[in-house]
Amino acid sequence: MEKGIIALAAALAVGIPAFATALAQAKIGSAGAGTVAEKPETAGVMIILEAIPETMVILGFVVAIMLILQFA
């Protein structure tokens, strides 16, 4: 039971930031696509901007790993 709750907590620690990241990336992606259509030379910068919100998932991943390693 306890292990199950820890696993759920770890899943939420990754899942919620992943959802938030997806929302942010969707907005950046659509804005980026518009920008690249008008200025193709910004493609590189847009790819980088698209990767920025992923930090949230990375931090979520750290929390999940800590949970699993400490308590499971």
Binding site: G44, I48, A51, E54, I58, F61, V62, L69
Partner: protein, 635 residues
Amino acid sequence: MIRDMLRLAIWGVTRRKSDIIATLHDLGILHLDPPKSLDITSPQLDRLKLLRGKLLGVLEALEWTGWATLKESDISHARYSLNLPFDDIVSEISHSLDQFSNRLGCSLNERKDLQDLYVKLKNAHEILLHFHSFLRKDISEGYYVSLWWMNKTDMAEALTLIRNEISRIAPIKTGEYMRYHPYIQPDGEMLVAVAVNEQFSEMVSRIMESCNGALWKAPSGYERENILETSDAIEEGLNLLPEKRRELESDLKNTAQIWGPKLAAIYILADEKLEEIFLGKMAHSLGDAFLIEGWIPADELEKVLSSLRENYGSDVFVQWRYPSAAEWNDVPISLSNSTLSRPFELFLKLLQPPRYKTTDPTSAIALFFPLFGGCMVGDVGYGLLIFLLGFSLRKRSQNRICNDLGVIVIFMAIWSIAWGVAYGEFFGDVGHRLFGMEPLWVERSHAVMPVMILTIVMGAAHIILGLFIGLYEGIKTKRRHVWMEKTGNLCVLFALIGALVTLKGWLPQEVFTIALSSLIIGLILLIAGGGIGGLVESMGAIGNILSYVRIAAIGLSSAILALVASKFIDVFGLSLLGIFLALSVHLLNFVLAIGGASIHSARLHYVEFMGKFYSGGGKDYKPFSRGREFRWRRG
């Protein structure tokens, strides 16, 4: 690193102005300030612009797109061949070009006519094909057949009238004959074929025309005695036309191949000449002398001086000086890096160039980008594949950007192999299964924490390096808030590291006191340098270090995907399906590994590392040179 630049002032005698400008053009070193006003006009400029426009028009009409394949030798040859006085050469080329355009226009018109005729014949052929059996039967029996465009409603009326008229003229049944066949085309238009005795042909024409009918006619030149013969002529035409078109296309293609590079070379020469005239107009005129000012890299000074001295002796006088601090924002930026790190200058192409007297991060990128990327991939097998990819990019492509990309990929591949050895991975656990490969350090799919800690340590080192560079720049440019903020950040980071290490028991307890002092000093400096914003930035620096955990996270996902590929072989055995699924997962993992590793490694540099010191805002160094490599390579 950013090259030192010099402000150069070239004084010369006016009578040698065009020669001196041509020499500067040949040297291709002087960067000119952008003109303050662009409306410089002269008859010479206008003639050249017109010639350039004509050349471009002819090249487009020729459908020549070989800019990327144009060789420097083509341009040199044209330059050598056209060594005549300017006015003569422009009028001569313009005259020849007009004649060439006329001939080309004739050929292009002929091609268009052939295309149009082919379409017309094709349409006529389709129509006649529909009526073929009708025409063959009635014409062979000696009846008169005509085709008419009509409305559906008018057709019924016209046919009734014809039938009545035939009954009236020939009441006796013998010899009375009328047959028709309608055809509705896909676009809704309607054609009707009417066959009658020869004696009624005029009557049919009269009635059809009175009912708004229009006689169908074969394309011009293909009309014959009767429609059947017309059909044969059209069919023959359809067989012959493609051959004619092919011949004409081949002629045009040959013309484009022969004349395209020559005309393009003349276009580039005209462009260069235009620049020279433009520079001549921009130069300050001082009676019998003129003055041209610009920027050159300091290490090229001797080359410029010796060239001008050799060619013009005392007719030219050169002054130079280093830019003052007030001018730093106007100085063009030219980077100079070692052969190994130069390809990494590509990363700065996505940003504005660095400002003069700031730090060029290329060397640091050359060291850390492949290190981080390789750590994410961390597989000997994938590393070898990436190496092959980089090698083929370098070998096959003539493009400089692709070449640089090839070098970057090769560097990443080398680090991927090195990390792969450390993790003991060769296409996941295939190396272990086949050759008993063991990790030199840890197996990252099982030991997550050591890899995570290592990535945080690498991140801390990277961020601290960025902060040190920022501190150095703050001191150099005498910006108090910058160096105080960077020092404060460094103190806070060192305090946290010191506290952590002490708590772990790796260092004596006294270090904790030093760390606490460092934290207090750091916080004071942060508030003094950037106020509350400074404190927020220090939190950002800690977040930035944690962001490097992505190296471990992406690496872990890559390692697990590679293991999943092997699992397919375990489940399905060495069957076709098992091998196919395993290869598919490896392919997916390989693509993700390259894409993910590159993007995230680049992001760590752009956001986390360069965010600590890089501000951009510099100007690109664009020397006044002949045939600038990318300027005339229009896609």
